[in-house]
Protein backbone atom coordinates (compact mmCIF):
# COMPACT_ATOMS: atom_id res chain seq x y z
CA UNK A 1 0.00 0.00 0.00
CA UNK A 2 1.63 3.22 -1.12
CA UNK A 3 0.83 6.68 0.04
CA UNK A 4 1.41 9.71 -2.15
CA UNK A 5 4.33 10.84 0.00
CA UNK A 6 6.13 7.54 -0.38
CA UNK A 7 7.91 8.46 -3.55
CA UNK A 8 11.48 9.33 -2.69
CA UNK A 9 11.46 12.28 -5.08
CA UNK A 10 8.51 13.79 -3.20
CA UNK A 11 10.22 13.23 0.11
CA UNK A 12 13.40 14.81 -1.23
CA UNK A 13 11.51 17.84 -2.54
CA UNK A 14 9.65 18.33 0.71
CA UNK A 15 12.32 17.49 3.25
CA UNK A 16 15.81 18.18 1.92
CA UNK A 17 15.53 21.82 2.95
CA UNK A 18 14.13 21.46 6.48
CA UNK A 19 16.50 18.58 7.24
CA UNK A 20 19.45 20.64 6.01
CA UNK A 21 18.42 23.49 8.27
CA UNK A 22 18.34 21.14 11.25
CA UNK A 23 21.76 19.72 10.43
CA UNK A 24 23.07 23.23 9.88
CA UNK A 25 21.84 24.27 13.33
CA UNK A 26 23.59 21.19 14.71
CA UNK A 27 26.89 21.42 12.80
CA UNK A 28 27.08 25.18 12.24
CA UNK A 29 28.10 24.62 8.60
CA UNK A 30 25.53 24.76 5.85
CA UNK A 31 27.70 22.96 3.29
CA UNK A 32 28.37 20.12 5.69
CA UNK A 33 24.68 20.01 6.59
CA UNK A 34 23.62 19.60 2.96
CA UNK A 35 26.32 17.02 2.42
CA UNK A 36 25.02 15.00 5.37
CA UNK A 37 21.41 15.13 4.21
CA UNK A 38 22.42 14.23 0.67
CA UNK A 39 24.34 11.27 2.05
CA UNK A 40 21.32 10.17 4.10
CA UNK A 41 19.26 10.13 0.89
CA UNK A 42 21.99 8.23 -0.95
CA UNK A 43 21.82 5.57 1.80
CA UNK A 44 18.03 5.54 1.71
CA UNK A 45 17.78 4.86 -2.02
CA UNK A 46 18.78 1.18 -2.01
CA UNK A 47 16.56 0.57 1.05
CA UNK A 48 13.64 2.73 0.02
CA UNK A 49 11.22 -0.14 -0.53
CA UNK A 50 11.53 -0.92 3.15
CA UNK A 51 11.92 2.60 4.53
CA UNK A 52 8.89 3.86 2.64
CA UNK A 53 6.73 1.38 4.53
CA UNK A 54 7.63 3.02 7.85
CA UNK A 55 5.12 5.36 9.42
CA UNK A 56 7.58 8.21 9.11
CA UNK A 57 10.37 7.66 6.56
CA UNK A 58 11.70 11.15 7.30
CA UNK A 59 12.55 10.04 10.82
CA UNK A 60 14.91 7.46 9.27
CA UNK A 61 16.60 10.12 7.14
CA UNK A 62 16.94 12.44 10.11
CA UNK A 63 18.42 9.77 12.29
CA UNK A 64 20.97 8.75 9.67
CA UNK A 65 21.98 12.35 8.97
CA UNK A 66 22.41 13.16 12.66
CA UNK A 67 24.32 9.95 13.25
CA UNK A 68 26.63 10.77 10.38
CA UNK A 69 27.16 14.23 11.81
CA UNK A 70 27.82 12.88 15.29
CA UNK A 71 30.32 10.35 13.98
CA UNK A 72 32.16 13.15 12.22
CA UNK A 73 31.49 11.57 8.92
CA UNK A 74 33.45 13.35 6.27
CA UNK A 75 34.44 10.74 3.75
CA UNK A 76 32.14 11.28 0.83
CA UNK A 77 33.51 14.42 -0.70
CA UNK A 78 31.85 13.82 -4.02
CA UNK A 79 28.42 14.82 -2.87
CA UNK A 80 29.85 17.94 -1.31
CA UNK A 81 31.74 18.96 -4.42
CA UNK A 82 28.59 18.35 -6.37
CA UNK A 83 26.62 20.49 -3.93
CA UNK A 84 29.12 23.33 -4.30
CA UNK A 85 28.97 23.15 -8.07
CA UNK A 86 25.22 23.66 -7.91
CA UNK A 87 25.50 26.79 -5.82
CA UNK A 88 24.86 29.94 -7.78
CA UNK A 89 27.63 32.54 -7.65
CA UNK A 90 25.44 34.95 -5.77
CA UNK A 91 23.41 33.30 -3.04
CA UNK A 92 21.58 36.50 -2.28
CA UNK A 93 20.64 35.62 1.30
CA UNK A 94 22.77 36.83 4.16
CA UNK A 95 22.32 35.42 7.65
CA UNK A 96 21.03 38.13 9.96
CA UNK A 97 22.47 38.95 13.40
CA UNK A 98 19.93 36.87 15.39
CA UNK A 99 20.63 33.91 13.19
CA UNK A 100 24.42 34.25 13.50
CA UNK A 101 24.23 34.73 17.26
CA UNK A 102 22.02 31.67 17.68
CA UNK A 103 24.26 29.39 15.62
CA UNK A 104 27.27 30.58 17.61
CA UNK A 105 25.43 29.96 20.89
CA UNK A 106 24.28 26.51 19.79
CA UNK A 107 27.87 25.57 19.02
CA UNK A 108 28.73 26.02 22.70
CA UNK A 109 26.14 23.56 23.97
CA UNK A 110 27.12 20.01 24.93
CA UNK A 111 26.51 17.64 22.04
CA UNK A 112 23.38 15.91 23.34
CA UNK A 113 21.79 19.13 24.54
CA UNK A 114 22.44 20.69 21.15
CA UNK A 115 21.01 17.72 19.29
CA UNK A 116 17.87 17.70 21.44
CA UNK A 117 17.38 21.47 21.19
CA UNK A 118 17.88 21.46 17.43
CA UNK A 119 15.57 18.52 16.80
CA UNK A 120 12.87 19.95 19.05
CA UNK A 121 13.05 23.66 18.26
CA UNK A 122 14.19 23.55 14.66
CA UNK A 123 12.82 20.22 13.48
CA UNK A 124 9.65 20.15 15.61
CA UNK A 125 10.52 16.59 16.63
CA UNK A 126 8.44 15.50 19.66
CA UNK A 127 10.24 14.79 22.94
CA UNK A 128 9.16 11.15 22.84
CA UNK A 129 10.82 10.60 19.49
CA UNK A 130 14.03 12.32 20.56
CA UNK A 131 14.03 10.06 23.60
CA UNK A 132 13.81 6.99 21.38
CA UNK A 133 16.51 8.23 19.04
CA UNK A 134 18.85 9.01 21.92
CA UNK A 135 17.95 5.93 23.90
CA UNK A 136 17.20 8.11 26.91
CA UNK A 137 14.13 8.54 29.10
CA UNK A 138 11.80 11.38 28.11
CA UNK A 139 12.42 13.10 31.43
CA UNK A 140 16.13 13.21 30.63
CA UNK A 141 15.47 14.73 27.22
CA UNK A 142 13.32 17.40 28.89
CA UNK A 143 16.21 18.21 31.20
CA UNK A 144 18.55 18.54 28.20
CA UNK A 145 16.06 20.84 26.50
CA UNK A 146 15.63 22.94 29.61
CA UNK A 147 19.36 23.27 30.19
CA UNK A 148 20.02 23.87 26.51
CA UNK A 149 17.47 26.68 26.36
CA UNK A 150 18.77 28.23 29.56
CA UNK A 151 22.34 28.16 28.23
CA UNK A 152 21.25 29.69 24.94
CA UNK A 153 19.33 32.43 26.73
CA UNK A 154 22.34 33.20 28.90
CA UNK A 155 24.60 33.28 25.87
CA UNK A 156 22.24 35.49 23.89
CA UNK A 157 21.44 37.80 26.82
CA UNK A 158 24.51 39.87 25.99
CA UNK A 159 23.24 40.46 22.49
CA UNK A 160 19.82 41.36 23.86
CA UNK A 161 21.32 43.86 26.29
CA UNK A 162 23.67 45.38 23.76
CA UNK A 163 21.21 45.75 20.93
CA UNK A 164 17.92 45.59 22.75
CA UNK A 165 16.13 45.90 19.45
CA UNK A 166 16.01 42.38 18.10
CA UNK A 167 12.40 41.78 19.04
Amino acid sequence: MRRSGDDIADVYAAHFRPLSVQLYAYTGDLDVAQELVQEAFARAIPRWNRISTYDDPVAWLRRVAFNLAASRWRRVRVARVYARRQLPEEVGVEPGPEHVALVAALAKLPDRHRRAVVMHHVGDVPVAEIARLEGAPEGTVRVWLHRGRAALAAELAEAWEEGGSHV
Partner: protein, 233 residues
Protein backbone atom coordinates in the same frame (compact mmCIF):
# COMPACT_ATOMS: atom_id res chain seq x y z
CA UNK B 1 8.76 28.45 29.94
CA UNK B 2 9.90 29.35 26.48
CA UNK B 3 11.51 32.75 26.03
CA UNK B 4 9.91 34.61 23.10
CA UNK B 5 13.21 36.29 22.35
CA UNK B 6 14.83 32.89 21.95
CA UNK B 7 11.95 31.71 19.77
CA UNK B 8 12.52 34.75 17.60
CA UNK B 9 16.15 33.72 17.07
CA UNK B 10 15.03 30.26 16.05
CA UNK B 11 12.44 31.64 13.63
CA UNK B 12 14.95 33.95 11.94
CA UNK B 13 17.52 31.20 11.70
CA UNK B 14 15.02 28.72 10.25
CA UNK B 15 13.81 31.09 7.58
CA UNK B 16 17.16 32.46 6.54
CA UNK B 17 18.89 29.10 6.49
CA UNK B 18 16.04 27.51 4.52
CA UNK B 19 16.47 30.22 1.89
CA UNK B 20 20.20 29.47 1.70
CA UNK B 21 19.85 25.73 1.19
CA UNK B 22 20.51 24.58 -2.38
CA UNK B 23 19.39 20.97 -2.76
CA UNK B 24 21.93 19.31 -5.07
CA UNK B 25 19.22 17.04 -6.45
CA UNK B 26 18.19 13.45 -5.99
CA UNK B 27 19.99 12.38 -9.15
CA UNK B 28 23.33 12.95 -7.45
CA UNK B 29 22.26 10.73 -4.55
CA UNK B 30 21.09 8.09 -7.01
CA UNK B 31 24.45 8.10 -8.77
CA UNK B 32 26.21 7.74 -5.41
CA UNK B 33 23.97 4.79 -4.51
CA UNK B 34 24.53 3.14 -7.90
CA UNK B 35 28.29 3.55 -7.69
CA UNK B 36 28.38 1.94 -4.27
CA UNK B 37 26.18 -0.89 -5.37
CA UNK B 38 28.48 -1.59 -8.30
CA UNK B 39 31.49 -1.51 -5.99
CA UNK B 40 29.78 -3.93 -3.61
CA UNK B 41 28.86 -6.40 -6.30
CA UNK B 42 32.44 -6.31 -7.55
CA UNK B 43 33.86 -7.06 -4.14
CA UNK B 44 31.21 -8.67 -2.02
CA UNK B 45 33.91 -9.99 0.25
CA UNK B 46 33.84 -6.54 1.78
CA UNK B 47 30.82 -7.69 3.70
CA UNK B 48 33.03 -10.04 5.61
CA UNK B 49 34.78 -7.07 7.14
CA UNK B 50 31.66 -6.02 8.97
CA UNK B 51 31.96 -7.56 12.38
CA UNK B 52 31.11 -5.24 15.16
CA UNK B 53 29.06 -6.71 17.93
CA UNK B 54 29.43 -9.94 19.80
CA UNK B 55 26.44 -11.38 21.55
CA UNK B 56 26.66 -11.98 25.24
CA UNK B 57 24.93 -15.09 26.48
CA UNK B 58 23.19 -14.49 29.75
CA UNK B 59 24.14 -16.56 32.76
CA UNK B 60 22.22 -19.78 32.94
CA UNK B 61 21.48 -19.57 29.27
CA UNK B 62 21.80 -23.32 28.90
CA UNK B 63 18.34 -23.59 30.32
CA UNK B 64 17.10 -21.82 27.25
CA UNK B 65 18.26 -24.54 24.92
CA UNK B 66 17.31 -27.51 27.07
CA UNK B 67 14.38 -29.71 26.19
CA UNK B 68 12.44 -28.36 29.16
CA UNK B 69 11.77 -25.18 27.32
CA UNK B 70 10.56 -25.42 23.77
CA UNK B 71 11.38 -22.89 21.16
CA UNK B 72 8.87 -20.06 21.10
CA UNK B 73 5.91 -20.86 18.98
CA UNK B 74 4.79 -17.84 17.06
CA UNK B 75 1.06 -17.34 17.05
CA UNK B 76 -1.09 -19.05 14.57
CA UNK B 77 -0.97 -17.49 11.12
CA UNK B 78 -0.91 -20.09 8.40
CA UNK B 79 2.15 -20.65 6.27
CA UNK B 80 4.49 -19.55 9.02
CA UNK B 81 6.55 -22.52 10.03
CA UNK B 82 7.27 -22.66 13.71
CA UNK B 83 10.70 -23.34 15.07
CA UNK B 84 11.52 -27.03 15.01
CA UNK B 85 11.35 -29.03 18.19
CA UNK B 86 14.41 -28.84 20.43
CA UNK B 87 17.28 -31.11 19.43
CA UNK B 88 15.84 -31.70 15.97
CA UNK B 89 18.40 -31.01 13.28
CA UNK B 90 17.98 -27.66 11.58
CA UNK B 91 15.97 -28.00 8.44
CA UNK B 92 15.94 -25.56 5.60
CA UNK B 93 12.66 -23.92 4.82
CA UNK B 94 11.15 -25.96 2.04
CA UNK B 95 8.88 -23.64 0.14
CA UNK B 96 10.29 -20.96 -2.06
CA UNK B 97 13.80 -22.17 -1.48
CA UNK B 98 15.37 -21.13 -4.72
CA UNK B 99 19.01 -21.92 -4.05
CA UNK B 100 20.72 -25.28 -4.24
CA UNK B 101 19.87 -27.65 -1.45
CA UNK B 102 23.55 -28.38 -0.99
CA UNK B 103 23.92 -25.08 0.87
CA UNK B 104 23.20 -25.75 4.54
CA UNK B 105 21.17 -23.57 6.87
CA UNK B 106 23.36 -21.29 8.95
CA UNK B 107 23.75 -22.43 12.54
CA UNK B 108 26.98 -20.72 13.58
CA UNK B 109 25.58 -17.26 14.05
CA UNK B 110 26.17 -14.23 16.22
CA UNK B 111 23.50 -11.65 16.86
CA UNK B 112 24.06 -8.00 17.62
CA UNK B 113 22.15 -4.78 17.75
CA UNK B 114 22.53 -2.37 14.83
CA UNK B 115 20.32 0.58 15.72
CA UNK B 116 16.86 1.91 16.28
CA UNK B 117 14.61 4.30 14.59
CA UNK B 118 11.49 5.72 16.08
CA UNK B 119 8.37 7.02 14.47
CA UNK B 120 5.13 8.11 16.02
CA UNK B 121 3.94 5.27 18.20
CA UNK B 122 6.36 2.61 17.00
CA UNK B 123 10.03 1.89 17.46
CA UNK B 124 12.02 -0.23 15.02
CA UNK B 125 15.18 -1.94 16.12
CA UNK B 126 17.51 -3.55 13.61
CA UNK B 127 19.70 -6.53 14.47
CA UNK B 128 22.31 -8.40 12.49
CA UNK B 129 22.96 -12.10 12.33
CA UNK B 130 26.53 -12.79 11.29
CA UNK B 131 27.78 -16.09 9.92
CA UNK B 132 30.59 -16.99 12.31
CA UNK B 133 31.11 -20.40 10.73
CA UNK B 134 33.70 -21.47 8.17
CA UNK B 135 31.18 -22.34 5.48
CA UNK B 136 28.78 -20.56 3.23
CA UNK B 137 25.21 -21.13 4.39
CA UNK B 138 21.62 -20.00 3.87
CA UNK B 139 19.02 -18.22 5.96
CA UNK B 140 15.38 -17.84 4.99
CA UNK B 141 12.43 -16.30 6.74
CA UNK B 142 11.64 -15.14 10.21
CA UNK B 143 13.69 -15.35 13.37
CA UNK B 144 11.73 -16.29 16.50
CA UNK B 145 11.93 -13.29 18.78
CA UNK B 146 10.86 -12.90 22.38
CA UNK B 147 11.86 -10.85 25.38
CA UNK B 148 12.85 -11.96 28.87
CA UNK B 149 12.90 -10.19 32.20
CA UNK B 150 15.67 -10.46 34.76
CA UNK B 151 14.25 -13.74 36.03
CA UNK B 152 14.20 -15.29 32.56
CA UNK B 153 10.44 -15.05 32.20
CA UNK B 154 8.93 -14.04 28.91
CA UNK B 155 7.71 -10.46 28.82
CA UNK B 156 4.50 -9.82 26.94
CA UNK B 157 4.29 -12.17 23.94
CA UNK B 158 6.50 -13.55 21.18
CA UNK B 159 6.99 -11.24 18.25
CA UNK B 160 4.33 -11.78 15.61
CA UNK B 161 5.58 -12.36 12.09
CA UNK B 162 4.87 -9.39 9.92
CA UNK B 163 3.57 -10.45 6.54
CA UNK B 164 5.76 -9.20 3.74
CA UNK B 165 5.31 -9.13 0.02
CA UNK B 166 7.07 -10.54 -1.89
CA UNK B 167 7.64 -13.59 0.29
CA UNK B 168 10.93 -13.77 2.24
CA UNK B 169 13.89 -14.67 0.08
CA UNK B 170 16.78 -16.93 0.89
CA UNK B 171 19.98 -15.09 1.69
CA UNK B 172 23.27 -16.88 1.17
CA UNK B 173 25.96 -15.94 3.65
CA UNK B 174 29.66 -16.40 3.15
CA UNK B 175 31.73 -16.72 6.32
CA UNK B 176 31.64 -13.35 8.05
CA UNK B 177 28.69 -12.04 6.05
CA UNK B 178 25.50 -10.93 7.73
CA UNK B 179 21.78 -10.55 7.36
CA UNK B 180 19.59 -8.11 9.20
CA UNK B 181 16.11 -8.14 10.60
CA UNK B 182 13.86 -5.60 12.24
CA UNK B 183 11.68 -5.85 15.32
CA UNK B 184 9.03 -3.24 15.98
CA UNK B 185 7.30 -2.41 19.24
CA UNK B 186 4.46 -0.08 20.02
CA UNK B 187 5.63 2.83 22.13
CA UNK B 188 2.15 4.03 22.94
CA UNK B 189 1.61 4.35 26.69
CA UNK B 190 -0.72 3.26 28.09
CA UNK B 191 -1.79 0.62 25.64
CA UNK B 192 -4.59 -1.83 26.31
CA UNK B 193 -2.90 -4.28 23.95
CA UNK B 194 -0.06 -4.86 26.37
CA UNK B 195 -1.08 -4.73 30.01
CA UNK B 196 1.30 -5.72 32.77
CA UNK B 197 5.06 -5.61 32.75
CA UNK B 198 6.64 -4.29 29.56
CA UNK B 199 10.24 -4.06 30.72
CA UNK B 200 12.70 -6.69 29.56
CA UNK B 201 16.46 -7.04 29.86
CA UNK B 202 17.13 -9.67 27.22
CA UNK B 203 16.13 -10.16 23.62
CA UNK B 204 16.00 -13.84 22.72
CA UNK B 205 16.44 -14.76 19.07
CA UNK B 206 16.02 -18.11 17.41
CA UNK B 207 17.53 -17.59 13.96
CA UNK B 208 15.37 -19.04 11.15
CA UNK B 209 15.36 -22.86 11.26
CA UNK B 210 17.61 -22.89 14.31
CA UNK B 211 16.94 -24.51 17.67
CA UNK B 212 19.62 -22.71 19.61
CA UNK B 213 18.72 -19.30 20.98
CA UNK B 214 20.95 -16.26 20.92
CA UNK B 215 20.64 -13.37 23.33
CA UNK B 216 21.07 -9.62 23.23
CA UNK B 217 21.17 -7.96 26.65
CA UNK B 218 19.68 -4.50 26.79
CA UNK B 219 16.86 -2.44 28.15
CA UNK B 220 13.62 -3.04 26.31
CA UNK B 221 10.07 -1.81 26.49
CA UNK B 222 7.93 -4.53 24.94
CA UNK B 223 4.49 -4.00 23.47
CA UNK B 224 2.96 -5.89 20.56
CA UNK B 225 6.32 -6.85 19.07
CA UNK B 226 6.47 -7.73 15.38
CA UNK B 227 9.36 -9.22 13.47
CA UNK B 228 10.30 -9.02 9.81
CA UNK B 229 12.17 -11.67 7.84
CA UNK B 230 15.94 -11.64 7.53
CA UNK B 231 17.29 -9.79 4.52
CA UNK B 232 20.63 -8.83 3.07
CA UNK B 233 21.99 -5.64 4.64
Amino acid sequence: MSDPRLDHHFDRMRHEAAAMVRPPGLDGARRTARRRRAALVGASAMLAAVAIGVPVAIAGGDRETGPAEPAPTPPAPSATATAPAPSAPPTPTASGHATSTTVPTCTDLAVSYVGSEGTAGTSYATYRLRNTGQLTCDLTGYPGVSYLDGAGREVQRDAVRETVSPAPRTVTLRPGAEVRFEVSNSTVVPNAACPGNRSAVTLRVYPPDNTRALFVPGSYEVCSPRVRPVHAP
